[in-house]
Symmetry: C2
Subunit: 151 residues, 2 copies
């Protein structure tokens, strides 16, 4: 993955929106892109703290909002009452299947969704900015129920 071009996009976005370019914001970006799978804001903050970063909670929450606003991250919600983020960088859009028993999350791409979303939005007079589509169920993993393998 090319971090430099992600930095470039972010820098451009910050400039355009009149936000300041700070080292802290790029530090959060690096951690976010290196995170495998989905993560919560607090999770990322704690990981950064563990790695002896001097970052503050407020800065992490604020920066993740910015990264979602410029589409470098995708904002998700899997029904756990917390916001999750996921790198959007170099990836194609996808939806999620969540096991309600062990928490495993599988991704899938469903080409029909794009059409459905734009048709519905047009019919109801909305200007779409995104959608979320999650399927819940029970997975066939034999270890299911044994471990909370959320990823």
């Amino acid at each position: 993955m090319n971090l430099n071009s992600a930095h470039e996009s972010f820098r451009k976005y910050l400039k355009k929106e009149n936000h300041r370019i700070t080292p802290e914001r790029f530090e959060v970006l690096d951690y976010a892109l290196n995170y495998k799978g989905h993560f919560g804001a607090d999770e990322l903050f704690l990981e950064m703290k563990t790695n002896h970063s001097n970052i503050s909670r407020a800065t992490v929450y604020n920066t993740l909002e910015l990264l979602a606003a410029c589409d470098l991250l995708a904002k998700r919600n899997f029904g756990e009452n917390k916001t999750r983020y996921e790198s959007n960088y170099d990836r194609k859009t996808h939806d999620h299947l969540i096991c309600i028993s062990c928490g495993a999350i599988k991704e899938f791409s469903e080409p029909r969704m794009e059409n459905i979303v734009s048709e519905v939005a047009e019919k109801l007079g909305f200007e779409t900015s995104g959608y979320s589509f999650n399927i819940f169920g029970k997975c066939t993993n034999p270890n299911c129920k044994l471990k909370k393998n959320v990823e």
Copy 2:
């Protein structure tokens, strides 16, 4: 709306699952079915308290879980990091369009979703128990931005 038949379903469910039949649980059911639109657990708890109910927070949270488990209520999450419930009783399934500016929520039915959900679940080896499909965007209401008219 026929409350009696909802009571009947709930009673049946509780019996089947070996949960006790308590007046508190039916009190929560009544409040939930009478609530117009979507509500959070704490909202319902506070409304019940306002109406001088003797119910406890724990009982409300617990009972709403049960009502969702037996499909009298639908559990929703509109990306606000809180669980919302909605009566499922006597209503057909539907999805939601959420205005990110004023919070308005519109409902729509999309018949194609059912097929997509079962196809995806089968392909990936999941036993489906439900799905959530929310479209986010900006509505055309001229009052949009003025009031938080969540419903």
